[in-house]
């Protein structure tokens, strides 16, 4: 009995394909034949017809066909299915025999060749006597054949050859040996396939025809056999639908058989075969639910058909195989594209197979524990004459006996004993483990981590039984943490118990201690007596002594283990074991035992978390955790917290620091921050130090633009730092008060935070001890810096018209306007205009705003009359100079220095004009009184200028003089034009305008030149006496 007895035969599991033999091919020595054979068997992809080919010699002897029974009347079958039947039809009895023969149509010795061919056909027919196997002839020809009908000799000789060989025309083929060999071969094999199908069809018909001769009482077995054969032939015919139908019928018939202990195995074997075929076809037809339903039905029907109680392990083995085979089919279908789900995947079937394998092991252990004195029976009852059984599932010692009564009880006993003894040698663990690992692989795929863990526990336990403790421990250790983290203590305890046994049997000290400790813990669900036993053992181990054996261990292994432990004890050195309990950053060590004996260091990592993170510690101490109530004797492990960090706070200072100032600060002013320090301590405070200035950590630019000093306002210059540190102040008596002005100069606007930090030493007593304590008080103040005032500058003409450019040699006005933006009063001490070389003052530049006090929003304006000489390059703007303002806060003391603010004046464009024009006229006119006006026209260029002048009349004036004139002015000379205007109306009147046209400079229009001339004049009315005078005159 081989361990593979329960495996399905190969012929059952393969896909049946039509069997065709090829004869007359010499594939060893003939290259052409070799090429033909290769074309048949190479590249058999799914698109080629399903045929299995075999090359056989022409005189091959096929299995003999028994003479056909004419009547079943006296026939009693001896079993359901012969063991050789499937193989016979797959590999021995062909559906078609093909005779290859080299013969061209124009063969010279046609007659001889034809008869040789006929002989070959005849030999094949002889050997197939009684079978329906078809015969076909293929002529291998060197020449490409002509199209059908054109070659008269060919058709004539073909007919003659068919006749000679007794072949139908459909069974004669021509294979020209040309370039297109594969194409011809594919056409040939399609034709063969048709022949084969016809053969299997007739076989099915033949078996069906037997049915009417059978009767239900004696031929029950034949019903199953025939149905199975029909189904199998249908499969060979590739008619899977009918095959499935017939297998289903066969399956039902199997269960209708009269079952008895003696034939139970045969029935189950056949049921298993047929079930396998049905499930396989269902998966093939992509109806997996049908397959599952069939399998369930099969298991339900067969589960209780145990058969002989003494051989009940056989039933378990068979059940295991059923599940395994279904799992394999399922898995194969998935590989071909079927989708499985979490609750329906091959893993469950492998798991169940493993369950039955386990069952088989238990039953075998129970039934096969014969004493060593029991010897294997002789002669061997399992031996058969031909080395194999005739029928599937029968007993070797009573083959073909159908009677339910045991004719020879002695023989039966020997047979059972032989089977039991064989079973004893089976390595059950190996089978079980391989099934479990198949299941693990599946469950891993279908997201069942817990199922996977469970199976791994089973595998570990199986390894334990198989005495492979290393592997057992590895698996158990692997899954332990899953159960631990999910807090399934019962399961964890069970696993730990097995693991402890493994560790004991291998004398693995570290593991032994680890598992013992865990089993002693509160998570373990062991009873107290067990715990105390383990504790005793643990103490023994720590004392460097051997522990007691764990209960229920294999006796022989315990002996070996005791030797190992003895070795461990005698071994010197290396008796310190470090056990990592958790994985974190900080750690706590607990040392058990002594370094002289054995010493175990339990290393808890973590606890307080990262010591560097103070925040965590604060959180940990603040977090409110509800702690379960525990008996007095127990300590709640989680409530032990490690305070890895703490905050150290200095003594609360008794010192008052006050700051007085008038915010906001103004840019560049010396801002005074008055610091008042008052001691409130009871004793003298020493070594008082002041740190004051810009608080560090702000914008780096602020540091550069902020200056502080204590040395009086005058000392605040660019060399002063932004922060004064540790200025010694000396000692302060209790209640003593100290004022210190801090001068700050802020170069830019913005918000600054200033720090005033006072530290001191004080003698104090803590818990009766005199110590020197350093205290400090710090104050911060935020000071905003703003601009003290805005300065607006503009250029206007003499007529107070806005100028975007000034004209060379023409006076203009510079107007400045100081607008106070400070919330505090500002005193302008003086102002000064610093002119650049390109601008000259027309009159004296004295300040008009000296000692002016400006409140918020008030402004002080000045006006200067200036003139620009002509410049070389009129495209560029020229610098005009700067405006210096000296100011201070009105509230500032005498000692506070004056702030000088320099405002750079804007650049201005200077334009030279070719013709200067000026009007000389009185400041007012009087109605009907002559008003002499003189126009001066000066040529500023080096060219003679042609000028046209026209005077436009005005309603308010009559005038005399040249109304329209064209004149020339020599370079650098001046021309005067004299007019007498005679005002007609009083009021602010428009003068007659002078239109000047420079012919050489068309750019300078009359409109532009007019800007230099007055446009209006005030005309007074005639006075009364003037009236009288005029009347007198009249």
């Amino acid at each position: 009995m081989s361990p593979t007895q329960w495996d399905f035969p190969v012929e059952l599991c393969c896909r049946p394909m039509a069997f065709v033999t090829l004869t007359g091919l010499d594939v060893t020595y003939n290259a052409i034949h070799r090429a033909i054979w290769d074309a048949f068997c190479a590249n058999r992809r799914a698109d080629r017809v399903p045929i299995s080919f075999k090359v056989l010699p022409g005189d091959h002897e096929y299995p003999k066909c028994r003479t056909k029974r004419t009547s079943y009347e006296w026939y009693i079958p001896k079993g359901i299915l012969k063991t050789g039947w499937m193989n016979k039809h797959l590999n021995l009895v062909p559906a078609l025999v093909v005779v290859f023969y080299e013969l061209d149509w124009d063969e010279a010795q046609w007659k001889e060749k034809q008869s040789e061919c006929a002989t070959r056909v005849e030999i094949v027919r002889q050997s197939l006597q009684g079978r329906n196997t078809k015969v076909a002839v293929v002529l291998i020809q060197k020449k490409t054949p002509l199209p059908p009908g054109e070659d008269l000799i060919a058709s004539e000789r073909a007919a003659a050859l068919c006749n000679a060989c007794d072949l139908s025309g459909k069974s004669l083929f021509v294979l020209p040996h040309t370039d297109h060999l594969v194409g011809y071969i594919i056409r040939l094999e399609n034709a063969f396939y048709e022949h084969a199908q016809t053969y299997y069809y007739t076989e099915i018909r033949r078996i069906k025809s037997h049915k009417e001769f059978l009767n239900k009482t004696t031929h029950q077995l034949l019903f199953v056999r025939h149905q199975f054969k029909i189904a199998f032939f249908s499969e060979l015919k590739q008619d899977t639908q009918n095959a499935l139908k017939n297998y289903r019928t066969a399956y039902n018939l199997v269960h209708e058989l009269r079952a008895h202990e003696t034939n139970m195995l045969e029935i189950k074997t056949m049921a298993g075969f047929i079930n396998y075929k049905i499930c396989r076809l269902c998966f093939q037809h992509n109806t997996p639910l049908d397959a599952i339903a069939q399998f369930r039905k099969h298991i339900d029907l067969c589960k209780k058909k145990i058969g002989s109680a003494e051989l009940s392990f056989e039933h378990a083995a068979w059940m295991s195989k059923q599940f395994q085979a279904f799992g394999d089919l399922f898995d194969e279908a998935i590989k071909l594209g079927l989708t499985a789900i979490q609750t329906q995947n091959p893993g469950f079937y492998y798991q169940q197979a493993a369950y039955y394998a386990q069952e088989r092991k238990h039953l075998a252990a129970l039934l096969c524990n014969h004493s060593p004195s029991v010897t294997y029976p002789s002669p061997d009852p399992l031996e058969t004459p031909n080395g194999a059984l005739d029928f599937y599932g029968q007993r070797a010692w009573r083959q073909g006996i159908l009677s339910f009564d045991l004719s020879d009880p002695e023989k039966e006993k020997a047979g059972i004993l032989a089977l039991q003894l064989k079973e004893r040698d089976v390595n059950h663990s190996e089978i079980n483990i391989s099934l479990l690992s198949s299941a693990v692989a599946q469950f891993k795929k279908y997201k069942c981590p817990r199922m996977k863990s469970h199976l791994m526990v089973q595998m570990g336990e199986e390894y334990y039984f198989a005495k492979d403790y290393t592997k057992a421990l590895k698996l158990l250790d692997y899954v332990m943490c899953d159960y631990r983290s999910e807090r399934w203590w019962t399961l964890l305890t069970s696993i730990l118990t097995t693991a402890l046994k493994c560790a004991y049997l291998m004398a693995q000290l570290k593991d032994y201690i680890t598992y013992s400790l865990e089993l002693l813990g509160r998570a373990s669900t062991l009873k107290d007596d067990q715990k105390s036993r383990i504790e005793k053992n643990l103490i023994n181990v720590l004392m460097n002594e051997s522990p007691e054996a764990e209960p229920d261990c294999d006796a022989s292994m315990v002996k070996a283990a005791q030797r190992l432990w003895a070795d461990r004890v005698s071994l010197a050195g290396n008796n310190v074991f470090t056990i990592e309990v958790q994985d974190f950053i900080t750690s706590v060590d607990l040392i058990l035992g002594s370094e002289t004996g054995r010493c175990v260091i339990l290393n808890w990592r973590g606890g307080g978390g990262d010591a560097a993170s103070a925040q965590e510690a604060v959180q940990a101490s603040r977090s409110f955790k509800r702690r379960p109530k525990l008996p007095e004797t127990e300590v709640h492990w989680d409530s032990i917290t490690i305070q890895a960090s703490t905050m150290i706070i200095s003594r609360v200072p008794k010192l008052c620091v006050q700051l007085r100032h008038e915010p906001p600060a103004l840019t560049n002013e010396i801002y005074c921050l008055m610091i008042t320090i008052q001691s409130q301590e009871d004793t003298v405070i020493k070594d008082v130090k002041l740190t004051a200035g810009l608080k560090p950590g702000q914008d780096a630019n602020l540091t550069q633009k902020t200056l502080v000093t204590l040395e009086g306002a005058e000392m605040c210059d660019d060399s002063s730092p932004a922060l004064l540190t540790d200025i010694p102040v000396g000692n302060l008596q209790p209640g003593e008060k100290l004022d210190m002005p801090l001068y700050i100069r802020c170069g830019t606007v913005g918000t600054r935070v200033f720090l005033v930090y006072v530290s001191y030493l004080i003698d104090t007593s803590v818990e009766g001890k005199e110590i020197v304590c350093r205290c400090h008080r710090d104050e911060t103040v935020t000071i905003e810096t703003v601009y003290p005032f805005d300065v607006a500058v503009k250029f206007v003409s003499i007529k107070f018209e806005h100028l975007d450019r000034v004209y060379a040699d023409k006076p203009f006005l510079l107007m400045t306007d100081i607008l106070s933006a400070s919330p505090w009063g500002l005193t302008i001490l003086s102002s000064q205009l610093q002119l650049s070389s390109s601008v000259t003052p027309v009159d004296e530049l004295e300040s008009h705003v000296e000692n002016v006090v400006l409140q918020t929003g008030e402004s002080a304006s000045e006006c200067f009359c200036l003139q620009c000489p002509p410049i070389a390059n009129p495209q560029n703007a020229v610098a005009t100079g700067s405006y210096n303002i000296s100011w201070k806060r009105s509230s500032a003391g005498e000692n506070v220095p004056i702030v000088n603010t320099v405002v750079t004046l804007p650049h201005v464009m200077v334009e030279s004009i070719p013709l200067h024009i000026k009007a000389d006229l009185p400041s007012f006119g009087r109605v009907r009184e002559s008003l002499p006006v003189k126009y001066h026209l000066q040529n500023k260029t080096g060219l003679v200028q042609d000028i046209e002048i026209a005077v436009e009349p005005s309603d308010a004036f009559m005038f005399s003089g040249l109304k329209q004139i064209r004149l020339q002015i020599l370079p650098g000379t001046e021309q005067e034009m004299l007019y007498n205007f005679y005002p007609l109306m009083a009021g602010y009147q428009q003068l007659p305008s002078l239109n000047i046209n420079l012919l050489r400079f068309p750019n300078y229009t009359s409109h532009m030149l007019k800007r230099f001339l007055p446009t209006h004049i005030f005309v007074k009315p005639q006075g009364r006496h003037v009236d009288e005078d005029s009347i007198e005159a009249a």
Partner: protein
């Protein structure tokens, strides 16, 4: 009737497991534990559905050769698992459902006990009695 009744905490550790005393207790522990794979999967699939439409009864988790395992999850993600003998075909889905509902009510009573700390193993005579009534052997 049930052969094993279990209450599993939100974090998947057992709050209560009782099985019939005639069989190996460990086996049922493993059965209940492995069934949590399916429970987890069902809950995560259900997570997408709206809360008020959620069905607490999870139905048959998976059938083994000998037992059927049913599941039920409360809104607070506490799970009830019930193992029923496969041969007991008299039990219909509706009956299982009503058994779970009964269990849920009893569990709610346990939770209402001010002396009970949620998350601790359930030790309640009332709950024991409810479970016992479900585990009366069929014979």
């Amino acid at each position: 009737m049930a052969v094993c009744v279990a209450v599993i905490a939100k974090e998947n550790y057992p709050l209560y497991i009782r099985s019939i005393p005639t069989e190996d207790q460990l086996k049922f522990h493993y059965t209940v534990h492995t069934s949590l794979d399916v429970v987890d999967e069902k809950i995560s699939a259900m997570g997408k559905a709206l809360v008020d439409q959620r069905e607490l009864y999870l139905g048959l988790l998976y059938p083994t050769e000998d037992y059927k395992v049913y599941g039920y999850v409360t809104n607070s993600k506490v799970k009830f698992v019930m193992v029923v003998d496969s041969s007991n075909t008299a039990l219909r889905d509706n009956e299982i459902r009503s058994m779970f509902r009964k269990l849920h009510n009893s569990y709610t009573d346990v939770m209402c006990n001010p002396f009970y700390n949620p998350g601790d193993p359930i030790q309640s005579r009332g709950f024991d009695n409810t479970v016992s009534s479900m585990m009366v052997p069929a014979c």
